[in-house]
C-alpha cells in the first residue's frame, strides 16, 4: 500500500435486482486524481454508480498532514464472489479485500443490518444514499427494503431532527428552516440564521415522497430527484431552489425534505421537514423574507434580490417555452369546444347576494349549458338557485374543480365571472359575460399557467387571469399584481414582473402592458 492511500470496505449488500451496493471509506492525498475499481479475481466488475462524500477527520485517518477521508458508495452490476476493491491514485494503489459486513440477501440488510449500519455511520453517508436514491434506480430499491415505508432508511430518518413549523430548536446559529413547494414543482428551502453563516456553509437536500397504498401499511416511500437545483448563500440565510416533476405532487400523500446543513468540514447537521404548499409568489418571496427578530429593512437585501433575479430568470428559461407553445395552440377567436357538451362555470360566487341575481337570470345558463360548475365562497348557496329549478346538474367546490380538470376533450367550458355577469346584465347584454367555449388546449394552458405562475391556491384566480388576458385591450394591464403582504416592495416588483412575463408568454406583446407593475404591499 502506498503512503497516504487508505481503503476499507464496510459492507456489501445484495440488491433485489441482482446488483450490489458497497459502502466504504477511502483517503488519498489532496489534488491527486483517484479512482476505484472492483475486481472479482482478475476481472473488473462493472460499476454502475459511484459517489463520494467528505468525512469529518475523526472518521478518517487521524493525525496532522493526513490525506482527507471520504466515504463512498458503489453499485456494482453483479454481486462479486471474493470481491477486491482497488484504489488507484498518484501512480500508487491500495486494495481492500475484507468486508466488515456482508449481507447474504437484500432482505437481511433491509430488516436491521443496513439500518443499523447507517445509524452508526456519519450522517453524511445516509444523506448521500438517500439523495442518490432519487436518481439511481438501484439505490431506489433501498427505500423498500424490509417492507417498511422508508425501507433501509426508516431508522435513520427517525433519528433526524424534525422541524415543526419554521422554527429550528436546539441548533445554535440556526433559527428557521422554511421549506415550500409550488404546484409547478418548485422546491425552495431557506435556512435562516440569527447571525451570518460561515463562508463555507452549504445546504443540500434530499426529497422523500410517500405514495399512498390501499391501506396505511401499504404506503410506499420514494426518493425524488431534484433537478435544476441552485444553492446560494445570503448574509444570514442559505437558500436552495430546484424543481421536481409536478406530476409527483398529484400522486404523493406526503412530501418530506431532508436537509444537510454543512457548517464547516467538521460540522454537519441534518434536519427533516415537510414542505408547505405555497403559491408561486409566496414561494419566491420567501427568498427575501427574514426571521421575525431581524432588523427592519433586512428583508429584500441586495443579495437576496440578486438571488431572486437569478431564480426568476431560471424559472422563465424553464417555463416560458412550454407556456408560449400552449398559448400558440389557443387562438382566441376559436370555438375550441366545437360540438362538445357545454359546461357552464361560474367563478367568483363569493357573496350570497349573488344568489338573487342568478336566481332571476337562471334561464341564461339553462339555455346555454348542459352542466353547471360553481366556484366561490358562497357556491353552495348560489347553487340552490339552480338546484331548486332542477333544470341543470350543478357541482360546487372540489367536485366542480375536478370536473373542470376532467373537461378537456370531453366538454367545452363557458366561463362566467359573477361580478362581470352582473355588469353585463345591468347593460342588458348578459351574453357578453360568457367566455368563448374553452377546449382541451385552453384547459391545458390554464393548468400549466396555474402551476408555473399561479397566484392563488385555487384554480379560480388563474382562470380569471387567463380570461383577463383574452379580453385585454391595448393600454390595459394584462396581468394584475398579486395583492399580498410582501417582504419588501422590491421583491413584489421583481416577482410580479416575473409572473407577468410567464402569464404573457407567447402572446403578441404589442399593447400588452406588464411593465411597471405597482406593488401591492
Amino acid at each position: 500500500m502506498e503512503v497516504g492511500l487508505q481503503l476499507s470496505l464496510k459492507c456489501l449488500i445484495p440488491l433485489p435486482d441482482g446488483r450490489c451496493l458497497l459502502l466504504g471509506r477511502a483517503s488519498a492525498p489532496a489534488a491527486v486524481g483517484a479512482e476505484l475499481a472492483l475486481m472479482e479475481g482478475d476481472t473488473a466488475c462493472p460499476i454502475a454508480h459511484g459517489a463520494f462524500y467528505p468525512l469529518p477527520a475523526q472518521h478518517g485517518t487521524e493525525g496532522s498532514g493526513a490525506a482527507p477521508a471520504h466515504g463512498f458508495s458503489l453499485i456494482a452490476d453483479r454481486v462479486p464472489k471474493s470481491p477486491r476493491l482497488v484504489l488507484r491514485a498518484g501512480g500508487g494503489s491500495a486494495s481492500a479485500e475484507s468486508v466488515e459486513h456482508i449481507f447474504e440477501t437484500a432482505e437481511a440488510a433491509g430488516t436491521s443490518g443496513l439500518a443499523k449500519l447507517l445509524a452508526d455511520q456519519p450522517p453524511a453517508l445516509g444523506f448521500a444514499l438517500l439523495r442518490d436514491a432519487g436518481t439511481h434506480a438501484a439505490l431506489a430499491s433501498l427505500m423498500t427494503l424490509g417492507g417498511a415505508p422508508l425501507g433501509a432508511f426508516a431508522e435513520w430518518m427517525a433519528r433526524l431532527h424534525p422541524v415543526r413549523g419554521r422554527t429550528v430548536e436546539n441548533l445554535p446559529g440556526v433559527e428557521e428552516a422554511e421549506a415550500l413547494h409550488s404546484l409547478g414543482g418548485d422546491i425552495l428551502v431557506v435556512v435562516r440564521g440569527g447571525a451570518a453563516f460561515p463562508p463555507e456553509a452549504r445546504l443540500e437536500l434530499a426529497l422523500v415522497g410517500l405514495l399512498p397504498g390501499a391501506g396505511p401499511l401499504a404506503s410506499r416511500a420514494v426518493a425524488l430527484p431534484l433537478f435544476d437545483g441552485h444553492a446560494a448563500a445570503l448574509p444570514q440565510a442559505l437558500v436552495l431552489h430546484g424543481r421536481i416533476d409536478p406530476a409527483w405532487l398529484d400522486r404523493l400523500s406526503a412530501l418530506e425534505v431532508v436537509l444537510q446543513l454543512r457548517m464547516g468540514a467538521e460540522e454537519v447537521h441534518l434536519l427533516r421537514c415537510r414542505p408547505r404548499a405555497a403559491t408561486v409568489p409566496d414561494l419566491l418571496d420567501a427568498v427575501c423574507r427574514t426571521t421575525l427578530l431581524a432588523e427592519a429593512g433586512e428583508a429584500g437585501s441586495t443579495e437576496a434580490l440578486g438571488l431572486l433575479r437569478l431564480l426568476t430568470a431560471r424559472r422563465e428559461a424553464a417555463f416560458e417555452p412550454m407556456l408560449a407553445s400552449l398559448a400558440a395552440q389557443c387562438p382566441q377567436d376559436a370555438d375550441a369546444g366545437g360540438q362538445l357538451p357545454r359546461i357552464g362555470l361560474i367563478l367568483g360566487a363569493d357573496d350570497p347576494v349573488a344568489t338573487r341575481l342568478l336566481q332571476v337570470t337562471a334561464p341564461e345558463f339553462e339555455g346555454r349549458c348542459d352542466q353547471l360548475l360553481i366556484l366561490g365562497d358562497a357556491a353552495e348557496e348560489v347553487a340552490q338557485a339552480f338546484l331548486r329549478r332542477g333544470r341543470l346538474p350543478v357541482l360546487v367546490g372540489p367536485a366542480a374543480v375536478a370536473a373542470l380538470r376532467q373537461a378537456g376533450g370531453v366538454a367545452a367550458v363557458l366561463v362566467v365571472e359573477a361580478p362581470r355577469f352582473a355588469e353585463a346584465v345591468a347593460r342588458g347584454r348578459p351574453a357578453e359575460a360568457f367566455s368563448r367555449p374553452l377546449g382541451a388546449a385552453d384547459l391545458a394552458r390554464l393548468l400549466a399557467l396555474h402551476g408555473a405562475a399561479g397566484c392563488e391556491p385555487g384554480l379560480e384566480d388563474s382562470l380569471v387571469r387567463l380570461l383577463r388576458l383574452e379580453r385585454h385591450r391595448p393600454g390595459e394591464a394584462a396581468f394584475l399584481p398579486v395583492p399580498r403582504g410582501w417582504s419588501s416592495p422590491h421583491a413584489a416588483e421583481l416577482v410580479n414582473a416575473h409572473l407577468a412575463r410567464l402569464w404573457t408568454a407567447g402572446l403578441k406583446t404589442q399593447g400588452l402592458r406588464t411593465e411597471g407593475l405597482a406593488a401591492h404591499v
Binding site: 357573496d351 341575481l357 336566481q359 332571476v360 352582473a422 346584465v425 345591468a426 342588458g428
Partner: protein
C-alpha cells in the same frame, strides 16, 4: 272568484301594503286605483302586504294569504329577507306566486317591488308568461340603498347619479360587487315589465338614467280618489289666509320639518302675524326627532301649533284651513300626495326647488319655490307669501289634479288594456 269576468280582462293590483294598516302615499295610490277601477265596473282585485299579519307570523301560524273583503287579499311577508326585496323562504314565496297565478289575471299591476320581492315578480312572470305586467314606481329604492331617497348618508347632500363607487361612499361596509349584484338583479326583472308607470317626469328620468329603458314608461299622475275629487273646490279669503302656513305629514328626517322650524323665527321677524300649524305630529314627536330645535319651538310661542295626526280623508279639508301648504322635503320626492291634496284644496304651495316638488308645483302658478334645505330662503319666501295679493293670485291659478276619466284612460293606455277595450 265570485266576480263576473270582464271581457276587457281581470287586473290584479299587487301593493306593498294595504292602507288599512299603513297610510303611505304609495299604498293609498294603489288602493285608490283599485277603488276607482272597481267603481268603473272593471274586473279588479287587490292584494296587499300586511304588517299586522307579518308580525303575528313571528309567533303564530298564519296563512300566507288571507281574504280581506270582496276582491281584496292581504299577505304576510314574514318569509322575506331583511331588506324586503326578496324572499328568504322559497316555500312562502311559492305559496304567494301560486295564489297570484291562480287568480288568472290578464294584467298584474304592481305598486312598488319592496315588500313584494323581485324574485316573486320573476317567478310570477314565469308562471304567467302571457299576462301583462305593469309597475308603478313610488320612490327610487332600486337605484339607491339609502331608502331610495338619493340623499347622501353622511352629509344629507343630494345624490344625482348612482354608481358603485358613489354608493360605496355612502355605505363603506358594502362591496362594489354587492352594488353590482343588486343593480343587475333589480334591473333584470324591472326591464321585463311591459310598462312602468312613473308618477312624475323626475322619477322617470332617474330610472332611465339608471338603465331602465326597455319597458314602455309613461308618466301618469297618481289618482287622488273619487271621494276627494267629489268635494267642491272653494275659494278662500286671501287676506285672512295669507299668513297661515301648514305642514302636513310625518316628521321624518327627509321631510324637512326641521328646515321649516328653523325658518319660522326668521320669518316671524319679517312678519309677526305668521302662524304655522304642523299636521301629522305632536310637539313631542318632533322634539324626539329634532331635540336641538326645542329652543326655537319654545320661542315661537303661539305662532306655532302642533295639530297631531290626521286622517288622510280629512287632508283636503284641513288644507283649506291654511293659506299655504309648505313641503320642505330635503329629498327629491316623487309625486307627493300632499301636493295633490293641496292642489285639490286650492291652497297654493311653498316647496323645495328640486325633483318631484319643483315639477308638480309650477312656480308662480301653483305656488312658490325656495332653495332646498335653506331656512333663510324659506323664511324669505314665507314673508313674501304673506302678501294677500300674491295669495289671491296663486289661489286662483293653482291647477286641479287629474280627473277620473283621464286617469282611467291613461291607465288603460299604459297597461295595454285600451287596445282590448276598443
Amino acid at each position: 272568484m265570485s266576480e263576473a269576468r270582464n271581457p276587457a280582462g281581470r287586473v290584479c293590483i299587487v301593493a306593498h301594503s294595504h292602507p288599512e294598516f299603513s297610510k303611505g302615499g304609495g299604498e293609498l295610490a294603489a288602493y285608490r286605483q283599485f277603488e276607482t277601477m272597481r267603481h268603473a265596473g272593471r274586473d279588479v282585485l287587490f292584494v296587499g302586504a300586511c304588517e299586522i299579519g307579518t308580525l303575528y307570523a313571528e309567533t303564530h301560524d298564519i296563512e300566507t294569504v288571507m281574504p280581506f273583503g270582496e276582491g281584496e287579499y292581504v299577505f304576510s311577508f314574514a318569509g322575506m329577507a331583511e331588506d324586503r326585496l326578496a324572499w328568504d323562504d322559497p316555500f312562502q314565496r311559492g305559496v304567494l306566486v301560486d295564489f297570484l297565478a291562480g287568480l288568472d289575471c290578464e294584467v298584474y299591476h304592481f305598486h312598488h317591488y319592496w315588500r313584494l320581492g323581485i324574485d316573486l315578480i320573476d317567478a310570477l312572470m314565469q308562471a304567467r308568461p302571457k299576462a301583462r305586467f305593469v309597475l308603478t314606481t313610488h320612490e327610487m329604492l332600486a337605484i339607491c340603498l339609502h331608502h331610495g331617497q338619493m340623499v347622501k348618508t353622511r352629509s344629507r347632500e343630494l345624490c344625482r347619479k348612482e354608481s358603485p363607487l358613489r354608493c360605496l361612499a355612502c355605505f363603506p361596509d358594502q362591496t362594489l360587487e354587492r352594488f353590482a349584484y343588486r343593480k343587475a338583479t333589480l334591473l333584470s326583472v324591472l326591464s321585463r315589465f311591459d310598462a312602468v308607470i312613473h308618477p312624475s317626469e323626475f322619477i322617470r328620468a332617474r330610472y332611465r338614467d339608471w338603465g331602465l329603458t326597455a319597458p314602455h314608461d309613461p308618466v301618469v299622475e297618481n289618482y287622488l280618489g273619487d271621494a276627494i275629487l267629489d268635494q267642491p273646490r272653494l275659494p278662500a279669503d286671501a287676506a285672512t289666509m295669507a299668513h297661515r302656513f301648514g305642514f302636513f305629514g310625518q316628521p321624518t328626517s327627509f321631510k324637512g320639518l326641521d328646515v321649516l322650524l328653523r325658518a319660522l323665527p326668521m320669518a316671524l321677524r319679517g312678519n309677526p302675524d305668521i302662524v304655522l300649524t304642523v299636521f301629522g305630529a305632536e310637539r313631542e314627536d318632533v322634539l324626539r326627532l329634532f331635540p336641538t330645535l326645542e329652543t326655537m319651538v319654545e320661542a315661537a310661542g303661539p305662532s306655532l301649533t302642533f295639530a297631531g295626526r290626521y286622517d288622510p280623508t280629512d287632508a283636503v279639508d284641513l288644507m283649506r284651513s291654511v293659506g299655504w301648504v309648505v313641503v320642505p322635503s330635503i329629498w327629491w320626492e316623487n309625486s307627493p300626495v300632499v301636493i295633490q291634496e293641496a292642489r285639490r284644496a286650492g291652497t297654493p304651495l311653498i316647496v323645495s326647488d328640486i325633483g318631484g316638488m319643483a315639477e308638480k308645483v309650477l312656480r308662480d302658478v301653483d305656488g312658490l319655490h325656495f332653495k332646498r334645505a335653506a331656512p333663510v330662503d324659506l323664511a324669505r319666501v314665507m314673508v313674501q307669501a304673506t302678501d294677500p295679493e300674491l295669495r289671491a293670485a296663486l289661489g286662483a291659478s293653482i291647477r286641479d289634479v287629474m280627473g277620473r276619466a283621464e286617469f282611467l284612460a291613461a291607465l288603460d293606455a299604459a297597461t295595454g288594456m285600451a287596445r282590448q277595450r276598443s
